[in-house]
Structures are given as structure tokens and as C-alpha cells.
Subunit: 563 residues, 2 copies
């Protein structure tokens, strides 16, 4: 049994920010100086995912130089640091360098490249195919893998274990979706228990475009028990001592790179095992972090949004206030001739409870001017859906004007249910740079609001989201007495059907077999397919389900399948 | 030497339209009845590319049923028909069936799956790994491959040839970009000449979302000479007799599926060899076909667009009139207080020359109403860039209102140069469902206009695009006396720099080394990167270069790389 001191350096990197990422790593070096081994995230010096940046040979060369800088700073603690490694013939590997004593003592190239869901690694990288090796760190033979490698039967983990690895470490850029952390923990603990060797799992943290990396790094002992678990959704360095049973070396063993020997220490560091979050809390946290990171990493401090008095914009305003501080959230109320008094009152109550900046700009004058101009066309002034869309677009233009004038980012407030069926106005309520709840169904929007209301209260001592907003029937208020349930089934019926179609990839025929109402299925499937051209023009937002409307769902716009 | 009669059935399929595609194939069966072998495009029964439709097991099962329908209709002419073939464990193959005498006599699964550029086949399909076989058709041992298979050294073509194939046929869904047809022809003729065996190349035709399949199917004889070439950009069935030298069979030969024997015919059909198009004509055709197919396959007949009097909207209007007929093109002139008289006159002259529907709707009243409403904000009324964007967005709202009221599709008129540097207004001049010239640099826009003006004249006997539009300096006319060259270098300088950065994947450092002005490089690179969030929200348009702003260029929005 050898005891090694391990650091899980769960940091938030920025894509393309090579100098900044090197600096982020170097800031942690004091903290981990007394460890044997420190793990940093997948692609730590470049940020992750790089997408087509990896096809710039100049960038990849810069990545190689950046990891050399990190290596030059390394001391007695071995660092596992991800980077993009140029190979012969212009190929690139998703790689880690093991850095120690001022140099790179070895590298590993990821073998298993995910090419599904949001991942395009088969497009971007050449799979590793070199001979495997182990690194003797703190006297322990360590096998190093990257993310997907841990999940693939027949991947490198089995060969590392068969080849004499006494411990497996996996560095990850694993994005969040609901339920994923439990799946990760099962895999890590099962791998440890089956092999009788400790497994360390280090994950990236922070938002990057559509993705939210949620941290939650962990270590499982040889019995498959979690002996250390880092927090979710925030940076942390967790240091712990891991007891590693010795594995007798044999003829079939992999070559070993000698890095460092056993260090005797007087103390025994035990890690805190952070408790798992409940599902709704986890989801809320994911949305907050995604929003904060997208806004800040894009160089903005303040956002604005249209506050209608409805539940969607109420939730997005609240998330933004939690992410950025209420003083950075600018709410714009834009009532039309069809807006109800209670909507305005509810929106103002929310702004007041949370201390948001809020102003009211009625759209009537602009609406009248548009109607007058459009009345000169052969088709005459706007009526019906044209007039509903017009009101929504006027609001979009006003929001963008305020954002342009003040240097704010516009947040989009639509939910997944309405995005799915296309009950949105392109260039109207879809305007913005970040669509906070585009992967959250309407029924879940209510759950999040109710959950948030059980937490910190508003400045007036009342819930941050006024109860009136949660209790009234949803309405777009674009014509007199409009209610969502006049044109859509109730969300309790709609959302499960959407989930089966979008996440479940069921066909029309199968949905009817599943027991959904045939007429409703026909209508909903048609709506979802026809709205694809709209969704392609809407801003990205955080993926929080197994299949959002982003890189994870790539469907043709022209698509005549009606099966 | 055996002579077989071959049909190149270059048809236009529709993605997801299984019944329609079966019907499109069946309509050709009389025409090809006297042939030995007829080739239909890659994924003929499903349309191509399927993207994530392939992840619906119900759809893949329907695809299998559709190819069985085609097989049931097959007679003495063997048909090569593409489809999505379900395999064990939920995998799917990009497949062709060889159909003959009412049944499927064999299938082939594509081995080489392109996972680069616009292609995601590594995401969508399982590569074929079954044993290869040959099909004896008309007495000839034919080796069948699919698209990428032909291009990969170490792919199946070499094994088919080594295994006794007397002829290679490749069915393709190969999208157009400038210069691609010459590359295809080189590959086909080189394969034929090197092997001494004829090679038949069948390509899909028609637009699908961002892609334009350009046909240009061909046959090369064993000397590497093209003996038949189908037209580009339109459906055609080319029938020709191909003389196939016998290859002595040997021990290492692949198994042969017996399909049909030699048919003695009295005549000898020689195919027309269609002349290659010149580059600018090819590009114009591609844009016309892409527009026609996107509009019609989306269920629309008419389009509208903003006609500013500038060159971009002039070109798009002309392409739309050529694609759909001038009576289906509705031009909207939306002058502001900054619009020049000559712009309005030029736009009206173009509409008149081409017989377009055109109306004029000044935006002044709406502009004033917005200014009044925005004057109530703390930041005051709109000035500077906010006011420029406002005017553009007013036009966007007016266009969308007309489109909504009349059931038209809006076409977007921006070019690649301005899309690259972000000299566009999101939700303003970017509105629309199809962005016809988003992959065409401004310098190329002028070339296309001049080329089109040498063709069919307008109804008034003058060029379809008035010379004034081509000779005046470009301006957005969003403030007094604005000209593009006040904020951008001339397009002769800008476009090559953009091409090196976007298509060439050069870094800032490399561009300076290449001799571009360092300050200009810094500015342009920054503009291109910062505009990524805008481009993600703009409508798709036809890819016509090696790297457009679509599925072929996937870069992060949050991206701090400045190298």
C-alpha cells in the first residue's frame, strides 16, 4: 500500500485564451506544491471544446508552446495538463502532457473520440494509437486517460489495468445535463470496484457557449467508495491522500516512465465528500453559471430583457440577477394595447422585489406608425398573426436599441416548449445573444420558480417571484383575452409529448402507439418540424437535457418526413 | 470486351420524402428499361443528407421498407439505389441496394464516412465492414462504392479492383463548391486510367438546405477519357453503352452475385459529353438552383426582399427572378431620410427591367415613432450606431409583416464580406429564411452581376441590372453621405484577407507574415471573430466555397484566441 497525495484542480478555463489559461494553472501551483500529482481539466491550456479552432495549424502550434510553458513551471508535483498536440501530416491529438521537474516527461493521446450529441471529436482529432505507458508518480504506477476513454469497453483503461496500472486518472471536459453526474459516479465507482484500484475523475467547470461544465470531480477507492467529491458548478482544488494497493509487476506490463518516488508525510489528508445536489437545485445552478460565464466571457457586465409579467421572463430575470447581481439587470416593460394591468403590476413587483432597474415603454405609438405604413400596401394594415408578430418585433427592436445604446447584452426568455412548437416570433421575442431557458420545458419553468422562491427572499421580504406570476394562466397577450391553452394543449400534456418526440426520437406512428392522441401528435409533430428554420436563427442557450436544440440536435430544415 | 448499357439517373430527391422519392425513381423505370444497369444517387429513397433523422429508428425502418418497394418494381435492368440500412444494435449504414427482377440481390455499406467540412457521417453511420462482393450485371463484374469510398487510399476501390472488378460504379451525394467538379473528374479519370477499367460516377442534383448538389455525373473509359457527362444543376438520365475489357478471374477474386448476363443489342448508344461550365456561370447556376429548391421544397412559391438600389439586393432579386419567375418576386423599397434619390430610381429601374412587383414604403413615420418612444429612456433617443441599426430593423419588421400577410418567404441579401466582418444589423438586413449570397464575397457579387448582364436582357431591352447600380460606390445609406470605404478598406483589399482568414485558416501572425497590413489584420480578425454570434442567428444560404459560414465552419462564439 502506497499513499499518494492527489490534487483535483477543477478550474474554469476559457477557449482560445492560451496565455490566460497558463496563468490560471500557474496560480494554483503553490496550493498543490506539496502533492505528488495534480490533475487539470481536458484541454486545460486551450479551453474546451475548440471546435474548428483546432484546424488552424498556427493555433495548435501555439497550444504546444503553451503547455511547454506550464511544464517549465512544474516542480516536484507532477501535473497532468490537457492540450492540442500536433502530429505528423497535419493531424491533431486531444492530448495530455505529464509535466514534472520543469519538463514534459510524457504525453498521452485520447483514443476514444466522441462523435455524437454535442461532440465532434471525430471531425477535429486523430485518435491516439501509440503504445500505452504508465507513469510512476509518488511510487505509484498511474495510468492516464481522457474523458470518453473511461466509458468505452475495449478502450485504453482495460489495457492500462492489465498492463500494471495501480491507479487510473481520467481528466474530463464533460458537460452537464440532468442526471449525468449520477451516471459518471456509477462509472467511476464501478471501474474502481471491478479493478480493485483507485480511480480519480477530474472535470472542467464553467460555461462555454451552449455547454455548462459542472465540475463534480471525485475519487473512488479500490472498494468503489467515493472518498472525495468536489463541489459542482464552481472552481475548487481538492487535495487528498489516496491509499493505493500495490500491484505485483509482471511480464505483460506496460513500460513505465519514472517520475517521482514515495514521499513520506506526517499527516493524512482526508477530503470532504460534497453532498449531491437535488435535481432542481442542480438545474438552477447550471442556468446561473451558464449565464454568468456567457455574459462575462463575452466581455459584458450588464444585460437587459423584456419583462412581460409572465413566468418565463420572471425566471430569466431572476437567474440573471443571481448570476450578475440585480444592479446589472435592466428590465424593460413594453405593454401593448392588449397588455393587462396585472401583467404590468406583476412585472414591476418582481423588479422591486429583486432591486432590478426597470422602465416602462408602451409600444402603442410605434404600433400605430407601423399600422399606418403597412396600410399603404395592397394587403392593407396588419391583422391576425401579422399583427401579433408585429407587436413582438417592435419589442425586439426596442430592446436591441436599448442594448446598443448602453452596451448591454439582451437575454432571450423563451422556453423549450414554445421553441419546440414555434410559438415564438422570429426577430421578436427571440432576439438576444443568450437564450437562458431554451432547453427548459414550461412545466419545469414553474418548478424552478417555485424552488427559487423557497430560497433567499426579495428585498421586501416576499418571494423573489411574485405568486401572482405563478398562479395566472399563461398568455402572450398579443390579442384580446389570449391564453396559451386556446391554441395549445395544457403544458402537462404537451411537454411529455415533446420530450418523446425531441429527446426520444420517436416517430409519429410510434407516438400514437405510445398512447398519445393521434390528432395532437400530427399537429405537434408538424409544428416542431416546421419551426426548425426559426430555431436555427435563435440564440444559443445552455444545454441541460440529453437533447437540446443546438449542436446536439442536427436536423434538416427541408424535411418532408411525416412518419 | 463486353458492352453493357448503363443509365446515369441523376435525379433530385427530397430529404425525408420516402414515398415521393420512390415515386421519383419509379417514374424513370420506363426510360431505363432497356439498360443493364441504372445508377441512382446516394441515399436515393431517403434524400441526402439525413443528419439526425438517421437516429430515429422508426425512420430507418421506413427507409428499409421504401427500398423494398423500389426492388419490387425492378425488372431486367439492375438498379443501384441508396438507402439507410438498419444494422444490429441500432447502428445504421449508408447503403445501396442492388435491385433486380423484383428483389434486392445484394447490398453494400459505405466504408469511408466523411466527417469534415459539411459532413457528419461519422456521427450518423456505422462504417461498412462486411466482406466485399461483386455483381455480375450484363455479364460484367461490377464493383459498387459510395461517394467518399472513391477518394480514400486504402478504401474499398483497390480491393474491388484486386478482387476482379471489371468496372467501378460510384453513387454520390457530392455537394458543389467552386472548383469541385474538376477535382471529381480528375479522380474519376485517374482511377479509370490507373486500373484500365471504366468508372461510372453518378451524382445527386438539387438543393438541400445549405447544400447544392450539382450533378455532372460522368463515365470514364479504361483509358481515362470521359465518354459521357451529364449536365450540371438539373435532372437528367444519360444512357450510354460502355465497353468493358474482360479481366481474367483468379484465385483472389471476390465472390460474385449473379445478376444478369450479356444482352446483345443491335445499336451502340454513345452519350453526349456535356461541356464544362465557366466558373462564373457555374456559380450563378448554383445560386439559382439553391434558391429555387429551398423556396419550393419549403412549400413556398413567392418571395419578397428589400431592394435598396445597391448591388447585393440587385443580384439577389435577379437570381430569385431567374429561379422562380419575376412574377413571384416582390420587391419592397424602404427609403429612409438618408436614402438618395438615385438609389430609389436605380431600384425601380431594376424592378421595371425584370418585371418584378415593387412598392415603396418610406420608413420615416415609424422611425419618428421609435425615436419618440426611445427618447423616454435615460439614454435618450437613438443616435449613431443605435440609430443606424434601428433603421435597418424597421425594414426587417416591414418585410416580415408583408411576408406574414401574403405567405411569402423573405430572402436575405447580405454578402460574405459583410457577414464576415459583421457589417450587418442582426434582425435588420439579416432577416429572412434563405441568404442567397452569404457565401459570395463582394468582389464576386460584381462579377456575377456583370456576367448576368451579358445574358438575357430585361423587358425594356436593357441589362437586367442597371449599370448605375454597378458603377456607384457601395453605401448602406444609414447616415448622411455614408460609404462602405469610410469604415472598411476597399473590397479588393478586404476580400483576399478574409479569404485567407476564413477559408485558409491562417492566424493573425501568419497573415502578417503573408504580407497583409498588421493593423488591418488586427482589426479584421477581431471583427470576424466578434461577429460569430451574429452569424449564428442569420439564415442559412448556399455553400459555394470550400468554407462557408455554415456546417462547414464550426467555431466557438466565446473565443479569446488572438494569435
Amino acid at each position: 500500500m502506497t499513499r499518494i497525495r492527489l490534487a483535483l484542480a477543477q478550474i474554469d478555463t476559457v477557449v482560445g485564451d492560451l496565455a490566460g489559461n497558463v496563468e490560471r494553472i500557474s496560480r494554483r501551483l503553490d496550493e498543490i506544491a506539496d502533492c505528488d500529482l495534480a490533475l487539470f481539466p481536458e484541454m486545460a491550456v486551450t479551453g474546451y471544446p475548440l471546435e474548428d479552432l483546432v484546424h488552424k495549424p498556427g493555433f495548435v502550434a501555439d497550444s504546444r508552446a503553451a503547455v511547454a510553458e506550464v511544464a517549465a513551471m512544474s516542480g516536484s508535483c507532477a501535473l497532468v495538463v490537457g492540450f492540442a498536440d500536433p502530429g505528423p501530416g497535419g493531424v491533431v491529438h486531444n492530448a495530455v502532457a505529464v509535466c514534472h521537474g520543469g519538463r514534459i516527461v510524457g504525453t498521452y493521446h485520447k483514443e476514444c473520440l466522441p462523435t455524437y450529441d454535442v461532440f465532434d471529436e471525430g471531425r477535429d482529432y486523430e485518435p491516439g494509437s501509440g503504445p500505452l505507458q504508465l507513469f510512476r508518480v509518488g511510487g505509484v504506477r498511474v495510468g492516464v486517460v481522457i474523458c470518453e476513454d473511461l466509458w468505452v469497453a475495449g478502450g485504453p483503461v482495460g489495457r492500462l489495468l492489465d498492463g500494471g496500472a495501480e491507479m487510473i486518472v481520467a481528466v474530463n471536459g464533460s458537460p452537464y445535463h440532468q442526471g449525468k453526474q449520477a451516471a459518471r459516479e456509477s462509472m467511476v465507482t464501478a471501474t474502481a470496484a471491478a479493478s480493485g484500484r483507485p480511480v480519480a475523475y477530474l472535470n472542467l467547470v464553467g460555461g462555454q457557449d451552449q455547454l455548462v461544465f459542472d465540475g463534480g470531480s471525485m475519487v473512488a477507492d479500490p472498494a468503489g467508495m467515493v472518498v472525495g467529491r468536489a463541489p459542482r458548478f464552481r472552481e475548487a482544488v481538492v487535495i487528498l491522500d489516496v491509499d493505493v494497493p500495490a500491484v505485483r509487476s509482471g511480464d505483460g506490463d506496460l513500460p513505465v516512465v519514472e517520475v517521482s518516488g514515495i514521499v513520506e508525510r506526517g499527516d493524512h489528508l482526508v477530503a470532504h465528500v460534497v453532498e449531491p445536489l437535488e435535481e432542481v437545485a442542480e438545474l438552477y445552478e447550471a442556468l446561473v453559471i451558464a449565464t454568468r460565464d456567457y455574459v462575462r466571457k463575452s466581455g459584458f457586465s450588464d444585460i437587459c430583457l423584456g419583462l412581460s409579467g409572465g413566468v418565463d421572463s420572471a425566471l430569466v430575470a431572476t437567474i440573471a440577477a443571481d448570476a450578475l447581481g440585480p444592479e446589472h439587470v435592466h428590465a424593460v416593460l413594453m405593454p401593448s394595447r392588449y397588455s393587462s394591468d396585472h401583467s404590468i403590476a406583476d412585472a414591476l413587483a418582481l423588479a422591486s422585489a429583486q432591486g432590478l432597474d426597470a422602465i416602462t415603454m408602451p409600444i402603442e405609438d410605434v404600433h400605430l406608425a407601423f399600422a399606418g405604413t403597412l396600410a399603404t400596401t395592397p394587403e392593407g394594415g396588419p391583422v391576425g398573426l401579422t399583427d401579433e408578430n408585429l407587436q413582438s418585433r417592435i419589442r425586439g427592436v426596442l430592446l436591441m436599441a436599448r442594448a446598443n445604446a448602453n452596451g448591454w447584452m439582451v437575454l432571450t426568455t423563451g422556453n423549450k416548449s414554445e421553441s419546440a412548437v414555434g410559438y415564438t416570433t422570429l426577430y421578436g421575442d427571440t432576439v438576444g445573444a443568450f437564450s437562458v431557458i431554451r432547453d427548459v420545458y414550461k412545466t419545469r419553468v414553474y418548478e424552478l420558480c417555485r424552488w427559487r422562491n423557497t430560497g433567499q427572499l426579495g428585498s421586501d421580504g416576499r418571494p423573489v417571484i411574485p405568486e401572482e406570476i405563478l398562479s395566472k394562466p399563461p398568455s402572450a397577450e398579443l390579442r384580446p383575452d389570449q391564453r396559451d391553452d386556446q391554441s395549445l394543449p395544457s403544458y402537462d400534456v404537451l411537454d411529455p409529448l415533446l420530450e418523446a418526440y425531441v429527446e426520444g426520437n420517436r416517430t409519429r406512428t410510434e407516438l400514437v402507439e405510445d398512447g398519445h392522441d393521434p390528432d395532437l401528435v400530427d399537429r405537434v409533430v408538424r409544428l416542431v418540424d416546421a419551426a426548425e428554420f426559426k430555431r436555427r436563427q435563435t440564440p444559443l442557450g445552455p444545454k441541460v437535457t440529453i437533447r437540446g436544440f443546438g449542436r446536439d440536435r442536427r436536423v434538416p430544415i427541408v424535411n418532408h418526413y411525416r412518419g
